[in-house]
């Protein structure tokens, strides 16, 4: 069709026919043909198209896409000639924003409109604006893995639930988002979007062990490197990278350099970051030791519990209080605080005490004595025990000051064993003492007292009651099994999903719960946000944290090796053993280049150290962008008013149009 000439009188003006496909006319519809000359502006072409379609709708988001060249014709004042467009060009008249299905860091699916015409960097920024995530530069999009996911699609798999739909959301024009009813205003349009906000800002509690087991887990460095081959290029548009409408993409924190996490503004960001961290830990993408896993489990348990009790609007209300509200509540707190201090003064003379008959066991060498009944008095931070209640006026058998001691729960619910193991430091060493309580209630009271005393606080402390409740509720977890003997799995439901599959296998729930309980005592007082932040920090302090792996071939080397890219350094890792061979820091880096022809990245460090490698597992542009991205992120200033220097980002990561 292109280049056809008709016998009409227009022949002389060098006009030709341009064919434009319009999706709105239906898939089978013939492309529109327009008669144009080379000096027609793109804007003019689009006007002609709209005229021809004769469909009344808002066409303002539409633009022309040149299929062969994978190019958006966005400069409406450019002529066809200037674009070098000729009659053989296949054009599409299509919206610049299309819906995509995004899998968020918390593995939930959401539909949003993303810009298909702008570079991914900006498209992500747009998505993050909708989601209310600050510092979008830290996130990016990945293609979803293809087959693997489908194979495992039996049983409950995350990401298959109904999508949350945010595609209809209209962002306010102003950059400053006014919170409304405790959430960014655009979420409060409908109950559906409100639910969506909850999904974004409150971590999901419906997780089961199967979910974790079903997820693909990388088992070695090469597998860990796989995910990094799927990153989309930030400097090109989605359309240019062949992403189709409604395609599934992953949104993830890509650069492990989290700038200025602020609980006040970053509700969604912190939640999603926590989720990503949680999954990294559960799926062992970031490896942790047993002890660390227990801390992570305890934090997850704690976060879950708080998230459950949080009513849909409450967590939001907490965050987004406007000034008056916060001032009022501050005032309230102050007033309450005032009365409570006076209460405290009254209480000074009467610090609560615990007095009970408990069985005490002191393990000593060469003795087989078991527990012995004593009258035990817990006063301030000390425990004194007497032979009997009658002798309580005299000298105690022993007095233990619990300040600085270690408190370890030793509980077995089914065995009705409620013991508190105390490791009390003394000049001679640690003395071990076991206190055995009769029931949960007693245990919880004494345990809470011991924990506070270990920190040097008495039971007059305001946290005492909540500590007691915490302990009781944790015990409930374990008690779940006798109540539902029909489901042997029910007990597993309690804590198993809090740890990675490896530890699920290693420990019986009976063993696991006490250990998590032990770790939990250190985090039980944290608020929801604090707990999430703690989780993120603990994750960040893992040695493996923040390293993105690539399989590469170093210049002059014959075997594949792993290159780890972190926020401050490059790490050369032995592929087989996993040992670090060499570390280079960005601060010593002079320059880096990419030879696009042979796809080799060459880096020069101080003291004339040169490193060159080609990427095996991922495109060399991805490696290049990762390094450039970290360097870009390190240029961010603490000056919050400053926007990002987007140009610099492209310069550092783009690799020009060599692709």
């Amino acid at each position: 069709m292109a280049g056809l000439k008709t016998a009409s009188g227009d022949y002389i003006d060098a006009s030709w026919e341009l064919s434009v496909a319009v999706e709105e006319l239906g898939p089978e519809a013939e492309p529109l043909t327009l008669r144009v000359t080379g000096d027609v502006h793109i804007g003019g072409v689009m006007l002609q198209i709209v005229d021809k379609i004769k469909v009344k709708q808002n066409w303002s988001d539409h633009a022309l896409w040149w299929e062969q060249k994978k190019l958006w014709l966005l400069k409406t004042n450019w002529t066809l000639d200037k674009y070098g467009l000729q009659a053989d060009a296949r054009l599409r008249y299509t919206p610049q924003h299309k819906p995509v299905r995004l899998q968020l860091p918390n593995r939930r699916m959401i539909r949003v409109h993303a810009s298909f015409s702008e570079p991914v960097f900006r498209a992500v920024a747009g998505i993050c604006r909708v989601l209310s995530i600050r510092h979008a530069e830290e996130l990016s999009l990945l293609r979803a893995p293809e087959e693997k996911d489908k194979k495992k699609r039996k049983g409950p798999v995350l990401g298959t639930e109904d999508d949350f739909d945010l595609s209809g959301v209209v962002l306010p024009a102003s950059a400053e988002q006014q919170p409304f009813r405790g959430m960014p205003a655009h979420f409060s349009d409908s109950p559906a979007t409100e639910a969506c906000y909850r999904m974004l800002s409150v971590s999901w509690t419906g997780l089961s062990p199967e979910h974790v087991l079903k997820m693909p887990r990388p088992s070695n460095l090469v597998e860990k490197a796989q995910i990094n081959s799927r990153w989309l290029s930030s400097s090109r548009s989605l359309m240019q990278q062949d992403v189709r409408e409604n395609e599934q993409l992953w949104l993830r924190f890509k650069y492990y350099s989290f700038f200025d996490l602020e609980p006040k503004y970053d509700v969604v960001r912190i939640t999603q970051l926590y989720e990503q961290a949680r999954w990294a830990v559960l799926l062992e993408e970031t490896e942790s030791t047993e002890e660390e896993m227990m801390v992570f489990a305890a934090l997850q348990y704690h976060i879950n519990k708080l998230s459950l009790s949080a009513d849909p609007t409450e967590p939001a209300g907490e965050q987004g209080m406007d000034d008056l509200d916060s001032a009022l509540s501050n005032l309230q707190v102050k007033l309450e605080g005032g009365t409570s201090t006076s209460d405290m003064l009254e209480n000074l003379t009467t610090i609560p005490e615990l007095k009970d008959n408990l069985r005490i066991f002191r393990p000593r060498k060469l003795t087989l004595k078991g527990y012995k009944q004593h009258w035990v008095v817990f006063k301030e931070t000390s425990i004194s025990y007497y032979k009997s209640q009658e002798e309580a006026l005299g000298e105690p058998v022993q007095q233990l000051n619990l300040k600085g001691c270690e408190v370890v729960p030793d509980v077995n619910i089914s065995g009705q064993k409620f013991c508190i193991k105390l490791l009390v430091p003394s000049p001679e060493g640690m003395s071990e003492v076991y206190l055995r309580c009769e029931d949960e209630q007693q245990y919880a009271r004494w345990m809470a007292g011991c924990r506070l005393a270990a920190k040097g606080r008495t039971m007059a402390d305001s946290t005492y009651q909540s500590e007691v409740q915490n302990i009781l509720s944790f015990l409930q977890l374990q008690r779940a099994s006798p109540d539902t003997p029909a489901a042997p799995d029910a007990e597993a439901m309690g804590t198993q999903w809090l740890v990675s599959p490896r530890y699920q296998k290693k420990f019986k729930p009976k063993q696991l719960t006490p250990r998590i309980l032990e770790a939990h005592q250190n985090v039980a007082q944290l608020s929801l946000t604090e707990a999430k932040m703690r989780f993120i920090q603990a994750w960040q302090s893992l040695p493996d944290f923040g390293i993105s792996y690539f399989v590469v071939r170093f210049k002059g080397s014959r075997k594949d090796e792993i290159l780890g890219i972190a926020n401050n350094r490059l790490i050369r890792i032995d592929l087989a053993v996993g040992d670090v061979v060499k570390t280079w820091r960005y601060s010593n880096m002079r320059q880096w280049n990419v030879n696009w022809d042979i796809r080799q990245v060459a880096i020069e460090f101080d003291e004339h150290i040169n490193v060159a490698f080609s990427s095996v597992s991922a495109g060399c542009n991805i490696v290049h962008e990762y390094i450039g991205g970290y360097i870009f992120l390190s240029t961010r200033s603490t000056d919050k008013g400053r926007g990002l220097d987007e140009e610099l980002f492209y310069k550092l990561t783009g690799g020009h149009e060599a692709l």
Binding site: F258, L261, E284, E287, S288, T289, E290, E291, E292, V295, G404, E406, P425, S426, P427, E428, G429, M430, R502, I536, Q537, A538, Q540, S541, L542, P543, D544, N568, G578, D579, V580, T583, R585, S587, N588
Partner: protein, 671 residues
């Protein structure tokens, strides 16, 4: 003033009995310390208005109405046959008593107070006398040994000194006046550095009879130097002096038999002390009304005195408020084998105590000053971190503990921040790094949302429980604790076994474990709960192959344990050293209370001139200037003198003490 002198008495007594060489610099240090205190008590314009003082300030520690009497290290002192600590504590108690009565009698009852003061003095006399006799015997022995060399070695500076002497003589006037009061206190108690210098004088004198008079000049010069500096740094004090003491007389007294001058000063001291009080109380209220709002240099002597009085009352009142705070009397050992007794309150951090000690001992400000806890029974030691609470740590000691607290310079303390590349990068070898990169590295490690614990791993020796045998293990440090790789397993996170978590333990340097426990090397570190003081299975001993590994591990553990706090401590310490950099600024920091905080000698003299002018207008500016020059020359000469003296001491000389600034403690309030 009474209680100050009383306390000083005991402080000095203790010093003396330590039988350490009584250097002029100590005396100088003492004076500066006192000056600190006096200027502090002067610096408020409105005396009646309660001003909140930081607990760091000295006055807050002078006396306490309620404090915990501590036995720590006291036994040790007793074992050595020293009763001095008890004296010191006695003095504390006395001062408390006095303060109490001064509050009680603030209406007008000065008579009681005076009597009380005298009583205290009387009570203190006997030990003083005893000590002075003790001292004279030392004098005899020491003169035969090291000191002989001194005059001749110090000669090269004498020309300068004599040249400057004349110039300075006029301004000496003031200095002498001043010295009378300050000076007299030590002397009246027949102890202290002052006596030490006096001892030198008399020593020299013996010789000067036989051949030259130079040596006596040396002594006089160095004394004058001290006087001079004293004067220079304490301009505001001048108006407090009640009687003029002609300079000539004072200098002459140097050349006279020492007993005489002592007696003389003794006498003036009594006067100086008693006169203010004799009429202060009568007029206090009136004067105070008058002086309200007046700039300090415009006040008359009476007004100043009244102000001082009011200030003391105010301080005492603050004490009452502070009475709830527990205090601990501690003994701090210096690097020169001397020791100081001081009081710390339970809120004080190690940083505050260090600042206090640095101020008082005039040892120069350095990042490296540390409080080190040594547990002799276990042969281990630990540098307290600046943010730690000192009292809390000391309470872990047992009653009969042999543990010591040492005030000493330790480069290990902040080496981590001076050369982070050696600790944070997990490299095996030391290297250099540009300062800019060091900063980047530190920022990266400590300023992120979480602290990056350096990746330290390697083979260490672990001591078997209860045995003197050591086994090799591959250890790794993680933020969550110390791990090791079990036999036959790979070095992957999931297989690591937790050796220790760091929440409940501190890390110590082990000392000489090669002998004690047959350790493979002497580079040992120990992990234990701070409360454990005796051998126990709960103490873990690790041994490194070399000292570098040892420091890497210890610093790594510190980072894992304290995180960002360490960096904050360092920055604070840095700030502290930068603000008070060297000698000159040291004296200016003492003046600071006056308002000027400049560290330039020039502006200092200006400042002293200003504040002097109100009281003694006769003093020409030029003198103040020349004075500062003189003093600097003197101090130079004196420095050399000390160095020589130090080096000439064969047995006792320690490298650390051979420096210009000998750590010593002129801490008058509490000793």
């Amino acid at each position: 003033m009474e209680q100050l002198s009383d306390e000083e008495l005991d402080h000095g007594a203790e010093e003396d009995s330590d039988k350490e060489d009584q250097d002029l610099d100590k005396m100088f240090g003492q004076w500066l310390g006192e000056l600190d205190k006096l200027t502090q008590s002067l610096d408020t314009d409105k005396p009646m208005e309660p001003v909140k003082k930081s607990p760091l300030r000295q006055e807050t520690n002078i006396a306490n109405f309620s404090y915990r009497f501590s036995m720590y290290n006291l036994n040790e002192a007793l074992n050595q046959g020293e009763t001095v600590d008890l004296d010191a504590l006695m003095a504390d108690l006395c001062s408390i008593e006095q303060e109490l009565s001064s509050i009680g009698s603030q209406s007008a009852n000065s008579a009681t107070m005076k009597r009380l003061a005298t009583e205290t003095k009387v009570a203190q006399k006997p030990p003083a006398g005893r000590l002075s006799s003790k001292h004279s015997s030392i004098k005899g022995s020491s003169s035969s040994s090291g000191r002989v060399t001194k005059p001749s070695n110090a000669n090269f500076s004498l020309e300068d000194i004599t040249a400057q002497l004349e110039k300075a003589s006029l301004s000496m006037d003031e200095a002498a006046q001043q010295s009378v009061m300050e000076d007299a206190k030590p002397v009246v108690t027949a102890q202290h550095r002052r006596t030490a210098s006096a001892g030198t004088v008399s020593d020299a004198e013996v010789r000067s009879i036989s051949n030259s008079s130079r040596s006596s000049i040396t002594s006089a010069a160095s004394s004058m130097d001290s006087l001079d500096i004293d004067k220079m740094t304490r301009p505001q004090e001048l108006d407090l002096t009640q009687q003029g003491q002609p300079i000539t007389e004072h200098i002459v007294s140097m050349g006279h038999p020492i007993k005489q001058s002592k007696r003389h000063i003794d006498f003036t001291e009594e006067e100086a002390e008693l006169t203010p009080h004799s009429y202060l109380d009568r007029e206090t209220s009136l004067l105070l009304r008058n002086i309200a709002g007046k700039p300090s240099h415009l006040l008359t002597k009476e007004e100043q005195a009244a102000k001082l009085k009011a200030e003391k009352i105010r301080v005492a009142l603050e004490k009452i408020k502070e009475a709830q705070v527990k205090k601990l009397v501690i003994r701090v050992h210096m690097s020169d084998d001397s020791s100081k007794t001081m009081m710390v309150d339970e809120r004080q951090t190690v940083r505050q105590v260090l600042d206090n000690l640095m101020d008082k001992s005039h040892c120069g400000y350095s990042l490296d000053w540390s409080l080190v806890e040594t547990i002799s029974e276990l042969q281990m030691e630990r540098i307290f971190e600046d943010h730690e609470n000192l009292v809390e740590n000391l309470l872990n000691w047992t009653r009969d503990s042999q543990n010591k607290l040492i005030f000493v310079e330790r480069i290990e303390k902040y080496a981590l921040f001076k050369n982070p590349q050696n600790y944070l990068l997990g490299k095996k070898e030391t290297s250099e790094m540009a300062d800019r990169n060091k900063e980047v590295l530190l920022e990266e490690c400590f300023c992120g949302s979480s602290v990056t614990v350096p990746e330290i791993e390697g083979v260490l020796w672990l001591k078997d429980d209860g045995k003197k045998s050591w086994k090799k293990r591959y250890f790794l440090l993680r933020a969550s604790g110390i791990y090791y790789v079990p036999k036959g397993k790979a070095k992957v996170s999931r297989d690591l076994v937790c050796f220790l978590q760091l929440d409940h333990v501190n890390v110590y340097y082990g000392q000489d474990y090669r002998n004690k426990y047959k350790a493979p090397t002497d580079y040992c570190l120990v992990l234990k709960h701070p409360q454990i003081q005796k051998k126990s299975q709960y103490i873990k001993y690790l041994c490194c192959d070399d000292v570098r590994t040892l420091h890497q591990w210890i610093n790594g553990i510190r980072i894992a344990k304290y995180g960002k706090q360490l960096y904050v401590n360092y920055q604070e310490a840095l700030k502290r050293t930068e603000s008070a950099y060297d000698w000159t600024s040291l004296s200016s920091s003492s003046i600071k209370s006056g308002s000027s905080s400049s560290s330039l000698p020039e502006s200092q003299s200006n400042h002293s001139n200003q504040s002097d002018s109100g009281v003694s207008d006769t003093q020409p500016t030029g003198h103040v200037r020349s004075q500062s020059i003189v003093s600097s020359i003197f101090s130079e000469a004196w420095k050399r003198g000390t160095q020589l003296e130090e080096s000439s001491k064969v047995s006792n000389a320690k490298p650390s003490t051979a420096k210009v600034c000998v750590p010593s403690m002129p801490y008058t309030g509490q000793n």
